[in-house]
Amino acid sequence: MHVDYSFLQALWFILIAVLWIGFFVLEGFDFGVGMLMRTVAKTQGERRALLHTIGPMWDGNEVWLLTAGGATFAAFPMWYATMFSGFYLALFLVLVALIVRGVSFEFWGKDDRPGWRTGWEWAMVISSGLAALLFGVAWANIVRGVPINAQQEFTGTLFTLLNPYGLLGGVTTLLLFLSHGAIFLTMRTEGTINERAQGIARFASPAAAVAGIVFLVWTVINMENRTGIEVAVAVLAGVGAILLATMAVSELAQRAHVAFSLSTAAIVLLFVTLFVDLFPNVMPSSTDARFNLTVANTSSSHMTLTLMAIVAAVMVPIVLAYTSWVYWVFRKRVSSDEFDLETKNPIDLMRGGAPHAPTDAQSPAG
């Protein structure tokens, strides 16, 4: 069976879009929770609870980024080479943020002096925010076009990326992930932290919606070949954002799951808009349209694309299956009461009953 080369190239473009979007949806709330570490949680027990909402998953979520990077290298090596060498210093900052963030989660609880924990909490807040911002800046610039010469080399600097449209993209993802994280927390927690997270979502979601809609309008205005589909997706994304904002302001507490779905939809649709706008380019050149990087002039051979398509077809369902199962195991809401043990004396504990009283949730594997 011979599959058309251009079909494979389009398929891989879609798969890479799916990987990036998967990363933004999943790691998006991790970024949000990281940013809110000192705002939503005020005590050690509360911060521990917050960490436990994402603790089992954040590392797996980050693998979506590694897979997106690896898949880009395998399927579109010329795109990978131009993007990663071109966005050099921006990418360096992303890497620093991701490194600091990763170890901050792991090291936070390894010592209990207050300065240690405060330090890592600020590391989480700043690194999560920085990463959330930079991913938006990078993608806005990819869509907008950056200076690329005939040798497919990026000829700009870090400051080329810091244009108003790029920065708006960054602010949009920053706010969107902040709101996504706050809504995630209202879905995954109980008690005081839940109420604080709702408070944040009420402010962050409308702000994200406003930034997102301005960004979308600007994106549509910038579009060179404005077809019905591209505009329709952008409009859908805008509607999603508005719904999200309405939802967050009005009845978040009762319907956290609906709000989270809307928040997910807003992120998905925003990036679908960008990817639909981008195709068949992968990195348009602002120097000369003839130097545009496209799926056709950056892709691997037919054989490599076919091979990787088979690997993806086998592995992606398996990965999704066990990832979903892990989320299912950790579906129970997290309450800071579970972690405040050290602050209670034994008599309080006896009065209040066992902290881990059996609940209705059954052990899924037992």
Binding site: G70, P77, S85, I99, F105, E106, K110, V326, A361
Partner: protein, 464 residues
Amino acid sequence: MTALDLARLQFATTTIFHFFFVPLSIGLAFYVAVCQTLHYRTGKEVYARQVNFFGKLMLISFAVGVVTGIIQEFQFGMNWSQYSRFVGDIFGAPLAMEALIAFFLESTFLGFWIFAKGRVSPKTHLVSIWLVSIGSALSAFFIIAANSWMQHPVGYKMVNGKPQLDSIWAVVTNNTAIAAYLHVIFAAALTGTFVVIGVAAFQIRRGHEVELFTRAVKVAIPILTVGVIGGFLAGDQLALLLVKQQPMKMSAAEALFESEAPAAFSLFATGDLTRDPGQTNRNLKIPHMLSLLATRSWDGKVTGINELERRDIAKYGPGQYVPYVAVIYWSFRVMVYTWGLMLLFALLTWWMARKGRLAESRHWQTFAMVMAVSPFLVNTAGWVMTEVGRQPWIVQGLMQTKDANSPLVSTAQVASTLIGFTLIFTVIGGIALWLFLRYVSKGAEPQATGKPDATDVPDLTLAY
């Protein structure tokens, strides 16, 4: 220094640092999985306490290994864009497979293992640590397959001056990849066990939980034995392949400038420390030994650097084809001599354990503590020999390193990321080491009263 030199320095720095933690994580994950299996089978508390104690050390290692691994995947594009364009059709595939097949498995189930203890059945929890162990060992395979393709390119055809994938089967069954993978996996097992034994010896020496840690050494002994022997056998196979595939690297590892038949194995050589001094004084030698190792015959000829250089010039045109001989010679010596010490230590440990003297012999305890450093030494030396020995090539025979870096990334840019990464690595590495030593000095937690069965109560011994 040029941008190219700095990019090379950056690759060396980030890779060596990353590879302190990778084999440690793989080795400790395997050791912890073994202990947890023993606990599951026997129900003995002593194994569960080992899981908790060494599990925490493993998590510190994983934390640093995982975050520094992100750089590994991205710096090919950042610093080596010409290389990425040239090899992408073949080299990208194993990296993508590594993420899809191994990283997801390892990361997802590591998080699961940390947080699901007590929430799921002991059996499910046991399966999860094995999935972590398998995932981490699998990831090593894909990256070694990718690296081995740079050492010994196979399964490709040249199309428009670039290698294009012809057979993925040839790439993943590359004989270099299989020998190198086994060598690395045995080294990883050794890294885990030497650290376990070193830490255990420290605890025994200060009289902390002597029984628990004596048991830890006994669990480690079979892994140590297999690792020391397996590591040698795989390394020997790899050297045999090198003689055919990268003779320059092997001759440089022997500082053998003039061809010899029969060839002697050099124990100690002196000479000019410039890149290519043209000759050395191979003072201490074992006659016939190199012929035996390299050709499996008593009098076999081993081609020297000078002859190989003439051949390369004839084949590839004028140029510089000799790598930094002293660096390769001494990194190979570090590996071989340290391996000798490891073998000695393994025999001694086996003997001491048999005689029941682990707890009394302070000499053995000191030896064990010192030897905890040894795997890091050989791991680093191994990569230095592998990568420096391939120079001037980035892909043996196909592309030179000088043509591979990102042409428009300036010296200042590479310098700033090099300084940035080095600073961060120093800080994070320092903190990780400090945490590691602190956990070690804190010792094992008192015997738990824990319930062995799954309950809905999460057990947060390992979580943060």
